[in-house]
């Protein structure tokens, strides 16, 4: 049985597989969790922290993405480390310095015990091509956004098993989609597990999921190419680069409006004003806290947003 490496945000999964281990994105269990965390700012980090501390997540070590992304994770990751878990801290460079990121990847490789199976790079790369095809399918109204999102969000860890994951990708049904408006979902992923289904119930077809698209967009076949690609991880770098990337995708995917999901107590919430200033689309900002089925306040906002785009275009 391969050792399982918990990851708290995007860590090149191809590298973890190449090192003979299986990644587990600890965020992926949060939306279905009913755990009430002891102390919290952001529920995402607080819940995976408590799940690890309570023995509720079967991992052998943890890689905390701290630099360039989530500072709550830096603290909660240290709580996990102090409990005795083998923990490594991975830092993205804000200035997109390729050499710095390569040195980070080298340290990570050492923590993971070294590269043992280079074939995993091409295998994961092939899976990402399938993911991009799936992404295009929903852009072309040939797949439900909720089905596609369920698959794409797992590209951070390939569901822990590339073979099983490939079957999962192949099982996403192809179907004509009817809707009233095309929307983009930017920001961290919603903590509500039924978000996309709820949006669909109001005629909103989500044609762009910002973070899962990052999982697909980045990759590589060795440390050099990984460093050159992952230095562009938009959530960890300057927001002006992220805005340009989003603008291109909004245009390419022909969206009518943008939903910016924010998480209570997450620093990314502060980016809302920047998006509103620089993205020339109707924008709906919503915020979630604890995982649960979509609350009425969210439904009201999604319904009203759909009406505004349909009734008063």
């Amino acid at each position: 049985m391969k050792e399982t490496v918990g990851i708290t945000a995007l860590v090149p999964p191809e590298l973890i597989y190449a090192c003979g281990k299986r990644p587990m994105d600890v965020n992926n269990v949060v939306p279905e969790s009913s755990l009430s965390p002891g102390s919290k700012l952001c529920a995402w980090t607080a819940i995976w922290r408590d799940m690890i501390l309570n023995g509720g997540l079967d991992i052998d070590s943890l890689v905390v993405v701290a630099g360039g992304d989530c500072h709550n994770a830096l603290v909660d990751g240290q709580k996990v480390e102090l409990s005795g878990m083998a923990t490594h801290y991975f830092f993205y460079p804000f200035d997109r310095d390729t050499d710095y990121l390569r040195s980070q990847l080298e340290k990570l490789t050492r923590f993971l015990g070294g590269i043992k199976d280079e074939r995993m790079f091409s295998l994961i790369s092939d899976l990402k091509l399938k993911g991009r095809a799936l992404d295009e399918l929903r852009v072309n109204d040939r797949a439900r956004a909720s089905d596609v999102f369920s698959a794409l969000i797992s590209f951070s860890d390939m569901a822990g098993d590339p073979d099983v994951f490939e079957k999962m990708l192949n099982s996403v049904p192809e179907t004509d989609v009817e809707y009233s408006s095309r929307v983009a979902l930017i920001g961290v992923p919603p903590i509500y597990p039924d978000f996309h289904e709820t949006a669909e119930s109001f005629g909103l077809h989500v044609v762009y999921d910002e973070l899962p698209y990052e999982f697909l967009r980045l990759g590589g076949s060795d440390l050099d190419s990984l460093a050159r690609s992952y230095r562009d991880y938009s959530f960890a770098g300057p927001i002006k680069n992220r805005v340009e990337l989003i603008k291109n995708e909004l245009q390419r995917r022909r969206v009518d409006g943008v939903i910016h999901y924010t998480q209570f107590a997450c620093h990314h919430t502060l980016e809302d004003e920047i998006f509103r200033e620089h993205l020339d689309y109707p924008i709906l900002t919503v915020q979630g806290d604890l995982p649960r089925p979509s609350p009425e306040q969210l439904k009201l906002r999604l319904e009203a947003f759909a009406e505004m785009m349909e009734v008063m275009p």
Binding site: Q297, E307, M312
Partner: protein, 237 residues
């Protein structure tokens, strides 16, 4: 007959339109909404809105964001920004780019905040506007949290401010809270039952640089918008 039925968190409103003219309207507490449709009205004529829009008879149910937009345009075709101050939430709608924000997690900018204050003074919430007009200055009140604001209110009373001055300060705090949600605009239209409080209108006028508009019956704008939407459906728009 086109009927708008707005059943909100606090009050229920009905408005009848015939050939583009308002011919009847009535307001009752929300739990008595049945009184508004008990004379044999046909559901097919009704468009509902408000928190309970899907729980009451309707041909179509739409959100208050859409009804406020339609109702405000009826009063002023050039309306730019609408501030709908309700019992449990405040909505700000920017018609220039079809965006809106809703505050429903914090009471500081909602009717519930004023009811809390009126309850403390043991006075009807409807008298807040008159008491506001008797003050020539206001007590400084925290403008970010309803709970802290009540605590500060008590401190200011202990410090010697009159009830009227504290109410004036509360309205100012309320207006500052709302102003954080309002984009720059030449004119801002205030709607919703809370706007019947003239103290709120005065405070918002003092805080915002925009020209403030208040329709004659601000609490009926959403019911009006619902009736107008029903009219649109007739026209196939």
């Amino acid at each position: 007959m086109n009927i708008g039925l707005d059943v909100g968190s606090t009050t229920a409103k009905v408005l009848h339109m015939e050939e583009g003219e308002i011919v009847f309207s009535k307001v009752v507490p929300s739990h008595r909404w049945i009184e508004l449709i008990d004379d044999g009205l046909d559901d097919i004529n009704i468009v509902s809105t408000g928190y309970f829009r899907k729980k009451v008879p309707h041909f179509a149910a739409i959100t208050e964001i859409t009804t406020a937009s339609l109702g405000a345009k009826y009063h002023d075709p050039d309306a730019q920004v609408i501030v709908d101050i309700g019992g449990q939430d405040t909505k700000v709608i920017d018609l220039s780019n079809n965006t809106f924000v809703i505050n429903d997690k914090c009471s500081a900018g909602t009717g519930a905040f004023l009811e809390l204050a009126a309850h403390y003074f043991d006075i009807p919430v409807g008298s807040l506007g008159e008491l506001h007009s008797k003050a020539t200055k206001g007590a400084q009140i925290n403008n970010t949290c309803g709970v802290f604001a009540i605590s500060e209110m008590i401190s200011q009373l202990v410090g010697g401010f009159s009830m009227e001055e504290v109410i004036y300060g509360l309205h100012q705090a309320f207006a500052l809270r709302i102003a954080q949600m309002v984009p720059p605009a030449d004119t801002v239209m205030l709607i919703g039952g809370t706007v019947q409080n003239t103290g709120i209108v005065d405070a918002v006028s003092n805080v915002l640089d925009s020209k403030i508009e208040v329709p004659g019956t601000p609490q009926l704008v959403n019911a009006l918008g619902a009736a107008l939407y029903r009219e649109r459906l007739n026209d196939g728009r």
